[in-house]
Amino acid sequence: MRGVHIIIPVDKEQMIIKALENLNLKYEKMTCSETTLIMLSISDEHVETVVDAIRKIGVGTLYGSYQVYTLEFAAETTAPEVKPKTRRISREEILSDIWPQAEFNKNYIIATILASILATLGLLTDNIIITIASMIIAPFFGPIIGVSLGIVLNIRELRSESFKSEVVGLITSVLTGFFFSLMLPYSTPTSRILAVSYPTYIDIMFAITAGLAASISVISATPLSLVGVAIAASLVPPAVNIGIGMTFALRGEPLALSMILGSAQLLTINVLAINTMSLVFFWIVGIKPAESIRKEIMARKMAMRRLLGLTLVFMIVAAPILVNTINYYHEKSLESQMKNDIRKFIKTYYQDIVIINLDIAHDRIKNITYVYLDLGVRVISDDYRVIADEIAQIISMKYKTNVIVFMKLIIISREVSALTGF
């Protein structure tokens, strides 16, 4: 629920009242010698209609002013005749939330450096708590949402300021990751670092969901810092991981180059996914310039152009990940089928043998399949030596691949044999 105060010169009173009456709004007014104060209480989703109606006739730009504030309680609210298009807070409220957060200033840079230091520490020590702490600082939320808002509302200043903040912030993150990891000389790639270095489609889905969640929070006045965590989770770790990769490269770490490239790819995909999703979402919920139809058409054209560009770049950058994901599942499925065939073969022809471990790795590029097989037997017999060749032949014939089998025979004690039925 919102309260609206409109303060105007007395000579403009009739015009404003007429505008409010056109919307069928109930109001209270107080007049002194030169100024009139008009007060009304309305629900959140009607604020934009009322603000547009009074701004349209010059309030706040040519004369007078208005204030919108959150009401804890009102005995009676009034609703305009016009039905709100969506249930969301007004364009002005969204702007007043986002614009200050998108500004490039000292505080933003400090927050970015602090978040990046924590993320670097979290990645290098494989510590999830420190990594989450870095995300809570959430420095990139304002700039990344500001870019999308600047596009749909066609506000050049917001767009360029947000873009500047976003780019400088990400570069700061990379550099912080680089310099801070330089100060920790005995660090090695941890599982968390490797996870960020080799993006999968799960990361893309995460970024898309984060972009949507962030946009929803913006229009529904959810505390922004909470959803900012999702954005930060998509951006801060890959950004600092590029810096960590640079440090590892200086130290001659063999994984360094793939770390840098993988993290840069993930970072680009995440930025594009969040920007694209927020842009689409803002447009769908009807966030448009209020001034004129000309500005609305311009904003629509610009949003379409940017959307096409973002989608195209997104597809180009994300294509290798999607292809790798498809290949990965294809190979996993192939490996699973091969495992089943090997199990079936052993069960049919060697009933006195138990499979202790079976791993298969298929190299699609070289078309070689490596089979790692541990077999449990009661006694070692020369008859078992042919098993490796037989498996190689079966797999090779069925799947048209070169096969190398590494087989171990392990003697099982009688007690265990008795327990397992062998």
């Binding site: 403009k12 505008a19 109606a53 730009t61 001034e291």
Partner: protein, 296 residues
């Protein structure tokens, strides 16, 4: 940067007062060639440019008394154009420049310098197009003939000739694109029709990143009302705004015109209702102050 598109049809006093209050470095005035026409003997007449130069030139008074040029050309049908010396000089210069294919920016620069005009005046098109009004009987008439209402009522087609050759002046285009505000200074329906019908200009305005503000005339004269109707709109100020509304972002209008304000509540435009009190010095000053507030 503020660019004023002017067609010379109204409010000289406000225009003079306004430009005096704006910084000369930040202001560019572009006379619209929407009323330009060509005589049968090939003279290119630009009533807007002529009017603007007469209004702005500080050294003009010295020249107005001379009838030498009119006298010289009395034998030709130029004298029937009812122009004073200065207008004839400008018309000849314009025609010579266009026929020789010399840049109009150079002509504007020479004219403003020689007449002591310190404001930046830029041509919009080089060579400029010219207005062609055809009546039901197939006759071609000029806008000047609209003093007789029958002529207006018999209008069949309003178009512009020479559009294939007319190119928007590159320097002017850059000024337009880099402006923060474009002010359409009380331009008439004919000029609006010009802005909407000339492709390159229409595109420039469509893609303009700043704000386009239309300072609306106080009321429509009969000729403009009839022309608006001929162009398919209601012959009122509301019709004029509806004709313009896809090309502009805001309008400045008389705050006493409650009906218009109310009627425009559904049109997606920003309205700046100001007090149109132009009969007193105080009224004009107050209006210009409001205008400056809007522009800045």
């Amino acid at each position: 940067m503020i660019t004023v598109l002017y067609d010379g049809k109204d409010s000289d006093r406000i225009f003079s007062k306004l430009i005096k209050r704006l910084s000369k470095n930040e202001l560019t005035i572009i006379p619209l060639p929407s009323y330009d026409y060509e005589t049968d003997n090939g003279l290119h007449v630009s009533p807007t440019l002529n009017h603007l130069i007469k209004m702005m030139g500080s050294r003009i008074n010295r020249m107005l008394g001379s009838y030498k040029i009119t006298y010289t050309f009395r034998e030709f049908d130029f004298s029937t154009l009812d122009m004073n010396d200065l207008e004839l000089v400008l018309t000849f210069l314009n025609t010579i420049w266009i026929s020789k294919g010399k840049p109009l920016t150079e002509l504007y620069e020479k004219i403003t310098r020689s007449l002591g005009i310190t404001y930046k005046l830029m041509p919009l098109y080089d060579p400029p197009p010219h207005l062609v009004i055809k009546t039901e009987s197939g006759e071609t008439i000029t806008y000047d003939m609209f003093s007789e209402i029958e002529n207006v009522e018999s209008v069949k087609e309003i178009s512009y000739s020479n559009l294939d050759k007319a190119k928007i002046v590159m320097e002017t285009k850059m000024i337009l694109e880099n402006s923060k505000v474009i002010l359409l200074f009380q331009i008439s329906p004919i000029s609006l029709h010009f802005l909407k019908s000339v492709g390159s200009l229409k595109k420039t305005l469509e893609n303009f990143k700043g704000t386009i503000i239309y300072f609306l005339p106080q009321k429509l004269i009969d000729v403009d009302s009839i022309l608006l109707q001929k162009l398919g709109y209601e012959g009122t100020l509301e019709g004029l705004v509806k004709m313009a509304h896809e090309q502009i972002d805001a309008i400045i209008l008389d705050d006493q015109n409650q009906k218009l304000i109310s009627d425009l509540s559904e049109v997606k435009l920003t309205l700046y209702p100001t007090h149109y009190e132009f009969n007193s010095k105080n009224g004009i000053n107050k209006f210009v102050n409001d205008l400056l507030k809007i522009l800045k």
